[in-house]
C-alpha cells in the first residue's frame, strides 16, 4: 500500500506516492531524480548518501521515504545558486578534494553541516566532523584542506 509523502527538497515541494519500504536515498535518486545522492553501503557506514534533513545531518539510506513527510531536505543539488557554486563546493574544486567524486556530495554536505555548527573548526574538529563519510581515493588530505578553505571563505564572505 503506497503512502503519500509531501516533502520540500532544495526549496521545491513534491507530493509523491511511495511504497513504505523505499529508502530515502532511493526515493531521492529514483522518484525525485536527484542522483547526486549516492549509495555505497545502505547501512549507514559510508556516508555517500548524506543529506540535510530539517537542519540535521542524516544518512538517507537509514531512513524510509515515508518518514520524511512534511519535512525539508537539502541535497547536494540544492547548494549552488543561479549556476554559481556554493563556497564549500568551490573550495572542494580548488583544493582538489575530489577524485572519483562518489563520496563528494556527502562530504560537501557534511562540511556544510559542520561549518554551520562550528564556523572555525580546528583540524581535529574537521576530521571528527567528517568521520561518518568514507573516501577510498584521497587519503582525506585535500578534503580537510578544502574544509579549511571553505571555512575561511565563508567567514570572509
Amino acid at each position: 500500500m503506497k503512502q503519500v509523502v509531501r516533502v520540500k527538497i532544495n526549496g521545491s515541494l513534491y507530493e509523491e506516492d511511495v511504497e513504505p519500504r523505499i529508502l530515502l536515498s532511493h526515493f531521492l535518486r529514483e522518484t525525485i531524480g536527484l542522483t547526486g545522492t549516492h549509495v555505497g553501503c545502505v547501512i549507514g557506514e559510508c556516508g555517500a548518501c548524506t543529506v540535510i534533513l530539517d537542519g540535521r545531518l542524516v544518512k538517507s539510506c537509514l531512513l524510509l521515504a515515508v518518514q520524511i513527510d512534511g519535512k525539508e531536505i537539502l541535497t547536494v543539488e540544492g547548494l549552488a545558486k543561479n549556476g554559481t557554486l556554493h563556497p564549500i563546493q568551490e573550495a572542494f574544486v580548488k583544493a582538489y578534494g575530489i577524485q572519483c567524486g562518489y563520496c563528494t556530495p556527502g562530504m560537501v554536505l557534511a562540511t556544510h553541516y559542520l561549518l554551520t555548527k562550528n564556523p572555525d573548526p580546528s583540524e581535529a574538529e574537521v576530521r571528527k566532523g567528517l568521520a561518518g563519510n568514507l573516501c577510498m581515493c584521497t587519503g582525506y588530505m585535500q578534503i580537510v584542506e578544502a574544509v579549511k578553505t571553505a571555512a575561511e571563505s565563508l567567514k570572509n564572505g
Partner: protein, 808 residues
C-alpha cells in the same frame, strides 16, 4: 616543447571537480532506460558445495518477476571465458562460466540471476529460488589444501596446488656461496581490497533487430568486458560505454566480467534493458580480494651489509577460481629489484586454490608484497649485522650515475636518484633527533618507532611480461601497449578531446587538457574533454586500461601525439590562408598569428569554418576537417620488450620511486598504534598537475597505511567471510588516517613524452613495509618481530604476549 610550458607542471582548475561537487557526475547506476528491469544475483551461501538442483518456479510465479537464469541454462546459452593472461600457467584448461555450473567454490559465488520490474521485487523473489546443495568440506588453509587428504576444488586438476614455477636471474648459488652470512625470515601479506565506494554496476541493452548489445558498466578495462561478452555470448557487435567510475583500484577489472555476462544474458532473454547494481556485502564477498601471500626469504649478505643475492619462495592463496592464478606472482617481476643493485635473484611460486573469494588485481597487485619482502629483509639484515637500517639500504642502492639501469630481470629503470630520496627523508623527518627522543621517551614508558623504507613504482604495462614466466604460452599476449586519443577543432572553433581510456577518479580530463593546451595555444578551460568512454567512438587499444599505471605513458603519449599532429594541420591551413610559411606562425589564445605581422592572424573558429565548409581556401592535397588521432606506442620499448631464453623482460617501462618515513607510537598495554608522522619524498618524473599527483600519493599512502594497521578480510574455518561490512573490514576514516607530508624530488624520465613517470598506486607499495618497520622499531625493547599484517591492536597485543613468553 619549444616554449616553456604554461599549463603542464602548474596548478590549474579541475575539469571534473565542478560536476562532482554539484552531484552531476554520471555513474552507471544513475542511468535509467525505458522499460528497464532490475537484476539480482543468486549466490552461494556455502564455501564449497555441489549444486544438485536449482528450482526457480516459485520465484517466477511472483508478480513482476520476468526471468531467471539458472546454471543449466547458462551452460547452454554461453561459452566459458577464454582463459586470459591472468590464467597463464594453468596446466589443464578449466572452463569457467559467468556463474557456477555444478559446484560452488566460495561464499557469494554467483549461480544465476533474476530480473524483475523493480529491485525490491527481485530481492523478494531471490528468496524463493530453491537451490539444493550438497555441502562439501571447505578448504581454507593453503597448507591443508595441499595435504594428501584435502578435498579438491577442481577435481580435473588433481590437486589444489594449481600452479608451481620458478625463475632465476644471475648466479644465485654463487651469491650464497660467497656470502658471509645468510639472513632468513618468513613474511606474510594478508587479504585486503581497495573497497571502491561505488560498487560494481552494469546496464545491458540488446537491440534484437541489429543484434547489437550495448553495455554501460563501471569497468576499468574495456577490453576485458568487450572480449568477455563477444566470446561468451557469441555476439559480433558489442558496445561498451564507461561513464564516471566511483573508484576502481583494480577491483573493477576482472570479476566484473561475470556480471556483465549475466546482466547481458538477462537482457537477451527478456529483450529489455536490465540494470544490475551490486550491494556492499556482495562486493566484500565476491568482487575480488588481493591475494594472501606467504614468503620464505633468504638473503646472501656480506659483512658490510652488501646483499649478493635474494631468493624467496611464495605461496599464494588464490581463492576459488583459476582465472587469476598467477597475477600476484608475475607482478613480482615489476619491482623485483626494488631500488637495489643486487645481481642475483631467484623466486619460486605456487598458487593454491581455496574456498575463498578469487583474487584480483588490486592497487599494485604483487608489488606491495615485493617491496615488503625487500624492506623487511633489509631490517633483518640491519639487526643481525648490527648496522643501521639506513646504512644497509644505502650500501645496496642503485646509483644515479648508473641510470638508465638494467636490473637482473631485464627492467630498465629510466631515471632516479635513490640515495638522495633516502638522504632527504632522513634529513626532513629529523632522524637523529627522533632517535634521541625515542631513547628518552622509552625511559618514560612511551614507545616510539621510526620506519624508513624505499620503493619503486613501475608504470606502463608491457603485455609480453608473462611470457617470461610462461614461455610455453600458446597465444601471444601481445607486447608493449597501444592506446589512442583524438583531438579536433569543431567548425565553431571549439577544441574537443576524446580519450582512449576510461578513468576512475584520476583527473584524466584535467591532465590531458593541460598537455593539449600547451601544444595548441589555448587555455585548458576551452578544451572540452569528452566522457564517457565509448568503445564505438573512443580510439582505444589494449593499453586503454585504468590499470598498470598506464595513463601517464599511453594516454599522455597519445594526447601529446594527437595534439602535435593537429597543430601541424592548423599551421598548414592557416599558412595557406595567411600566405605565410607555417614555420613563421605561432598559436596563442586560439588564434594563429604570423610572427612580425600583427594583422596577419586567423582564429580557430575561422579555420574551422574553412576546414569543414570552404574547399576553395584549402591548400591542395589538404585533408578537410581539423582532427587528428594518434595511437601511441612506447618508442623506447626495446630491448627486453619480449623475453628471450634468459627470461629477461621489461615488466613495465617507467620507474617512479619514493622514500617513506613513518613515526609511530605503540601503546604496549592495548597494542594500539598511532601514526604520529608520515613523510614521503617522491620522484614521479615531470609532474603535469601537482594537485593531482599529490592526491594520488596521499590516497595510495593512506590505503597502504590502513592496510598495515587494520584493513583485511577474515574467514572462519567454514569458509564464511566474517568481514562483509566496511566497519568489520576495518576501513580507516578521517580520524584514523594520519596526516601525510609529501616532498617532490623528480628525476625526469629520458624516455617519455614530457619526462613524466607514474603516480597512482605508488605510495600503496612501500607504506605497508614502512608501518611494519616502525612498529617493530617501537617494540624493539620487547623483542617483537613483525612478519605479518595487519597490525591491529589485537595483533600487536598478541605479538607482545608472544615476545614476553619467549623472553621468559
Amino acid at each position: 616543447m619549444a616554449r616553456a610550458a604554461k599549463y603542464v607542471g602548474h596548478r590549474t582548475r579541475s575539469k571534473e571537480g565542478p560536476r562532482h561537487v554539484s552531484g552531476q557526475g554520471n555513474y552507471t547506476d544513475d542511468f535509467i532506460l525505458p522499460g528497464m528491469l532490475h537484476a539480482v544475483i543468486i549466490r552461494s551461501p556455502y564455501a564449497h558445495a555441489r549444486i544438485k538442483n536449482v528450482d526457480p518456479r516459485a520465484a517466477l510465479e511472483t508478480p513482476g518477476v520476468i526471468a531467471v537464469i539458472i546454471p543449466e541454462e547458462l551452460k547452454q546459452k554461453t561459452k566459458p571465458f577464454k582463459p586470459g593472461r591472468y590464467a597463464a600457467g594453468l596446466r589443464k584448461p578449466i572452463p569457467e562460466y559467468a556463474s557456477a555450473i555444478d559446484k560452488v567454490r566460495y561464499v557469494g559465488e554467483p549461480i544465476g540471476a533474476l530480473a524483475a520490474r523493480d529491485r525490491g521485487t527481485a530481492e523478494d523473489a531471490l528468496e524463493l529460488v530453491s537451490v539444493d546443495y550438497e555441502p562439501l568440506p571447505p578448504v581454507t588453509d593453503t597448507k591443508d589444501a595441499v595435504g594428501p587428504d584435502s578435498p579438491l576444488l577442481f577435481e580435473d586438476l588433481g590437486s589444489n596446488l594449481a600452479w608451481k614455477g620458478s625463475l632465476t636471474y644471475g648466479d644465485i648459488d654463487g651469491a650464497f656461496r660467497e656470502a658471509d652470512t645468510v639472513v632468513r625470515d618468513k613474511f606474510k601479506i594478508h587479504r585486503y581490497s581497495s573497497t571502491p565506494l561505488e560498487t560494481l554496476a552494469c546496464i545491458a541493452s540488446f537491440d534484437s533487430a541489429s543484434r547489437k548489445l550495448t553495455v554501460w558498466i563501471n569497468a576499468q578495462v574495456p577490453e576485458v568486458i568487450y572480449d568477455a561478452l563477444r566470446e561468451t555470448l557469441g555476439l559480433e557487435d558489442v558496445r561498451i560505454i564507461i561513464p564516471d567510475i566511483g573508484g576502481g583500484f583494480g577491483q573493477k577489472i576482472h570479476l566484473i566480467r561475470k556480471y556483465a555476462v549475466l546482466t547481458s544474458l538477462l537482457a537477451l532473454k527478456t529483450q529489455r534493458p536490465v540494470k544490475w547494481v551490486e550491494d556492499r556485502s556482495e562486493h566484500m564477498m565476491a568482487a575480488g580480494h588481493s591475494c594472501a601471500q606467504e614468503f620464505d626469504v633468504e638473503a646472501a649478505v656480506k659483512k658490510d651489509g652488501t646483499v649478493l643475492g635474494l631468493k624467496f619462495k611464495e605461496i599464494d592463496d588464490v581463492g576459488g577460481s583459476v582465472s587469476t592464478l598467477t597475477i600476484h606472482f608475475t607482478n613480482k617481476l615489476n619491482n623485483l629489484s626494488n631500488t637495489y643493485k643486487v645481481k642475483n635473484i631467484s623466486l619460486e611460486g605456487c598458487s593454491v586454490v581455496t574456498n575463498k573469494c578469487p583474487v584480483i588485481p588490486n592497487r599494485g597487485i604483487g608489488k606491495p608484497a615485493m617491496c615488503f619482502i625487500w624492506e623487511r629483509i633489509m631490517d633483518r639484515i640491519s639487526r643481525e649485522l648490527e648496522l643501521s637500517p639506513i646504512e644497509v639500504r644505502s650500501i645496496n642502492l642503485i646509483q644515479p650515475k648508473e641510470m638508465p639501469y638494467t636490473t637482473p630481470s631485464g627492467n630498465i629503470y629510466d631515471s632516479g636518484d635513490y640515495p638522495s630520496l633516502l638522504k632527504r627523508v632522513i634529513e626532513k623527518i629529523g632522524y637523529d633527533k627522533l632517535r634521541e627522543e625515542q631513547r628518552s621517551e622509552r625511559e618514560k614508558g612511551r614507545f616510539l618507532g621510526i620506519g624508513v623504507v624505499i620503493g619503486v613504482e613501475p608504470g606502463g604495462r608491457n603485455a609480453a611480461r608473462d611470457m617470461a614466466i610462461f614461455p610455453e604460452m600458446k597465444e601471444s599476449p601481445g607486447a608493449g601497449g597501444v592506446n589512442g586519443a583524438t583531438i579536433k577543432i569543431e567548425k565553431n572553433g571549439t577544441l574537443s578531446l576524446l580519450l582512449g581510456s576510461p578513468n576512475c577518479g584520476q583527473s584524466h580530463e584535467t591532465t590531458t587538457g593541460q598537455v593539449a593546451a600547451d601544444i595548441l595555444g589555448i587555455g585548458p578551460e576551452h578544451i572540452s574533454v569528452s566522457t564517457p568512454f565509448d568503445s564505438d567512438l573512443s580510439p582505444w587499444g589494449t593499453a586503454a586500461a585504468n590499470s598498470g599505471n598506464n595513463f601517464h605513458l599511453y594516454d599522455i603519449g597519445a594526447v601529446h601525439g594527437a595534439a602535435t599532429k593537429l597543430k601541424t594541420k592548423i599551421l598548414t591551413l592557416a599558412g595557406h590562408i595567411l600566405q605565410t610559411d607555417p614555420a613563421k606562425l605561432s598559436i596563442e589564445n586560439a588564434t594563429v598569428q604570423a610572427l612580425g605581422s600583427p594583422k596577419k592572424k586567423i582564429t580557430f573558429a575561422e579555420l574551422g569554418r574553412v576546414a569543414y565548409g570552404n574547399q576553395s581556401l584549402m591548400p591542395e592535397g589538404f585533408e578537410a576537417g581539423l582532427q587528428a588521432t594518434h595511437y601511441y606506442t612506447f618508442p623506447h620499448a626495446e630491448p627486453n620488450m619480449v623475453p628471450g631464453q634468459d627470461r629477461r623482460i621489461r615488466a613495465q617501462f617507467t620507474f617512479s620511486a619514493a622514500s617513506h618515513a613513518a613515526v609511530v607510537e605503540v601503546d604496549p598495554q592495548t597494542g594500539k598504534v598511532e601514526v604520529l608522522r608520515y613523510l614521503i619524498i617522491s620522484d614521479n618524473g615531470t609532474i603535469i598537475n601537482p594537485d593531482v599527483v599529490n592526491g594520488q600519493i596521499y590516497g595510495s599512502a593512506a590505503h597502504g597505511i590502513s592496510v598495515a594497521l587494520g584493513e583485511g578480510f577474515v574467514y572462519n574455518s567454514e569458509g564464511q567471510l566474517l568481514t562483509v561490512t566496511l566497519t568489520d573490514y576495518g576501513k580507516s576514516s578521517t580520524v584514523e588516517t594520519p596526516k601525510i607530508e609529501i616532498e617532490h624530488r623528480p628525476s625526469v624520465s629520458p624516455f617519455t613524452t614530457l619526462g613524466q613517470k607514474a603516480a597512482g598506486e605508488g605510495a600503496a607499495i612501500p607504506s605497508p613495509a614502512a608501518i611494519a618497520s616502525a612498529v617493530e622499531d617501537a617494540l624493539q625493547p620487547f623483542g617483537v618481530e613483525v612478519r605479518d599484517l595487519p597490525l591491529t591492536p589485537e595483533a600487536v597485543w598478541h605479538l607482545l604476549q608472544e615476545a614476553k613468553r619467549n623472553d621468559s
